[in-house]
Symmetry: C2
Subunit: 503 residues, 2 copies
Amino acid sequence: MKAIQHTINHHFTITRRLPRPVRARQELLFDDTNRSSKASNPATRLAQSLTHMLHNQIESIHTQKTLTQSNFSTILEDKSNTPISFPKDDISNNWEEFHGANNWDDLLDPINPSLRQELLKYGELAQATYDAFDYDPYSEYCGSCRYNRNKLFEKLSLTRHGYHVTKYIYATSQIDLPRWLEKSQVAETWSTHSNWMGFVAVSDDEESCRIGRRDIVVSWRGTVSASEWYEDFQRNLETFGHGDAKVEEGFLSIYTTKFRSSRYNKSSASEQVMQELSKLIDFYKKRGEEVSLTITGHSLGGALALLNAYEAAAIFVNLPVSVISFAAPRIGNSVFRDELHELGVKILRVVVKQDVVPWTAGMVFNNESLQNFDEITGGLQWIHPHAGVELKLDARASPYLKRGLQLLGHHMLETYLHLLDGYESSKVPFRPDATRDIALVNKECDLLINELRIPPRWYQVANKGLVQNAYGRWVKPKRDPEDIPSPTSESANCNEMQSVLGY
Amino acid sequence: MKAIQHTINHHFTITRRLPRPVRARQELLFDDTNRSSKASNPATRLAQSLTHMLHNQIESIHTQKTLTQSNFSTILEDKSNTPISFPKDDISNNWEEFHGANNWDDLLDPINPSLRQELLKYGELAQATYDAFDYDPYSEYCGSCRYNRNKLFEKLSLTRHGYHVTKYIYATSQIDLPRWLEKSQVAETWSTHSNWMGFVAVSDDEESCRIGRRDIVVSWRGTVSASEWYEDFQRNLETFGHGDAKVEEGFLSIYTTKFRSSRYNKSSASEQVMQELSKLIDFYKKRGEEVSLTITGHSLGGALALLNAYEAAAIFVNLPVSVISFAAPRIGNSVFRDELHELGVKILRVVVKQDVVPWTAGMVFNNESLQNFDEITGGLQWIHPHAGVELKLDARASPYLKRGLQLLGHHMLETYLHLLDGYESSKVPFRPDATRDIALVNKECDLLINELRIPPRWYQVANKGLVQNAYGRWVKPKRDPEDIPSPTSESANCNEMQSVLGY
């Protein structure tokens, strides 16, 4: 009982550590896309950049056209009674371009509407990893996916994208990254080491026909409350690959750690996903199909996507590999970036101008406040270069969002998808014919203006999952047996792939 | 837009006021049931009493028999598959005793099991005012009851008690009591001044038969987060009635304020309830029925119950009037207490030893923490006497509750009902054959031991009331027209009473 109490207290305590003595760094790197005067302290630069951002936002309050409340009522009334459109343009003839073959030249500003739809699709597949994650510390399945892989898209209303999940990915870490791993408070739990980290999915025949190839997607789950960001600030870069490429050890540990004794991480996330990719690519190549790999993820998930892309491109030669990342932090040195380019990995980084995470190596979020900001800036010793092409969104373009510094809100994936949906070009404000549901923005944060009357952080289950049994007592129902995680049933075999995909 | 923003900020800001200069008091009164050395400062006494309470709790950690985790698993497993029993003992021959005619002599320690059931019934009718209250600041009906009076008990699974609601009560206040009134953030709202404060209900024929008389119940809603407690500390006693009885002006204002211009408080809560009582008593007396009045409420609701009882006993002579209050604070001077006794009002105050509210004139709760504690104790100048008979429950008796100082948890009505259900006598621990659902304790707080695996604060609606419309968009549904508050349909007429009650 004491041990449990201890765990619980630990879980709920907001960690406020004293800053550790900053270690000597092996690497002192700067983003070479910006002015990189060695004389300016990176902490100072971060502070400057935040000041600049703040200034932008304050300015925006004055320059923004104010919509009256009746405007909003009308807009909402109109919007809520219109379908959410999913133009399913045939892109079979130019899918390579949309997949980054020409580094998205001339496709981003103004954005090609078909490309926007493709990017939203990948973004929603990334969002699925949040929406289906079991965060409930009182569930014995905390840290797993709430549904089995065959039900995932149906439960999240994502079947319209035309993909099937073939495998779930699990990860652990050998480095103690506080508040990274979601852990159950229950003693007998599905796993004490591992968390569900995402999935591998494949386009079905109809979707493959529309997009011109069999598209394999890997979607990596991120985490917005985790202090792995914070911890990373105080850690070293580690070698990745066979050369001088280096990445931050926190991300690498999540990607590569395995424990023989664990149930879900006898193999690492890397091994799980690479094995699945190998199987799928082999399966479709043998059938003479054209195959692409698209790796997506938000925040930490965007970082893992890069590691995954690096490995996949190195092993599967001639396979088109793209990364569509959202709000991804910098993770490696310039050699890592250069090698990614040399391997032919195409990277489209979607970033929101007001989101601090992509501009720094990491951040700690806790509710709406930035924790230990001084410690973070004090500890900041390097800024790593970003790789790939950037699609920059401006939160000020949307008339639906609150102004001012919104550290958590501007980092959320749903905010990214909202802004992407409204994005036309860097010179034009939010397009009025955007169709995505605006209410989704407030799922996990408080970013929508109050006039819209959408409650903040509304994404919650009734009675935290308790239901009344036949006697009228409130109980935690058992999970459906088919949704209980099981290492053996979590990868599609060839028979299943054939039957699902219609062979 | 600015005005709305202001309201919202105000609503969410935790008020941290500087202590006002303590005004000269008209009254300096002490609880004369305790030793009342005038030399000892009341603030010091409160501090001593809290220290004592803390000591009790620390002690309890050592003396309590520790149950192992497997014990709890077994208990829970067993409990959750048993019915919640509601022994419907025939008390028609001794209802006067249970109603307090003999001041509950020899009925409380050990408690008479039939009386316990009656008290639980009234407690659940008080709890109904919390469970059905619309707290949603994004609802245009924030501050009202979520259901109309004919559906209330059905929606809350309380039809088993055999009562029908005949009228809803609304209140406002002419004194600015910050955070007392729950207000909508929406501009066009059902009421800007008033909150739903409870209801009047009548026992149906079957229940009346079992309990030996037609029982009229008034149930007053309390509030646990409100700072009316705090404000009250800094206010004066006001005259109530025609003599020297005085009560705190905060409570009195809620009970008696009316505004001509308002929709729901053209008449005060007092006038609404007294008019309804008059109508009902007249109706049943004319039919030659024996009638009783039982007034219940928790916290602030318990205070209002006393004001209501005082008025009712003064006006309806020979009507048996009882108050069953839970966690009620002190509210008046000793003349008020004496007059209540002289009027024949019978008062049973259920209090939990570890709850600080009944021992002080008031408290401010915000989440789990006590706000501005120093200011409160600093401002404390008097302690008013309690009236009536006390039934003292001990939180340490229950093996299901967390130990230590639990300011919010020990004050919650569900905790009271749990402890009452387990109460046998002051000398015996929690009775093992208590049948109430233990999970209810954690509805709005975090008091159950973690081994029970009941999430804290689990009472919440799915997606904060948003639902997907036909287009898949998340929208706030309109309230059912029948549940929209309406001043005209909120009191039963004689025809309805006859048809409902089976004449």
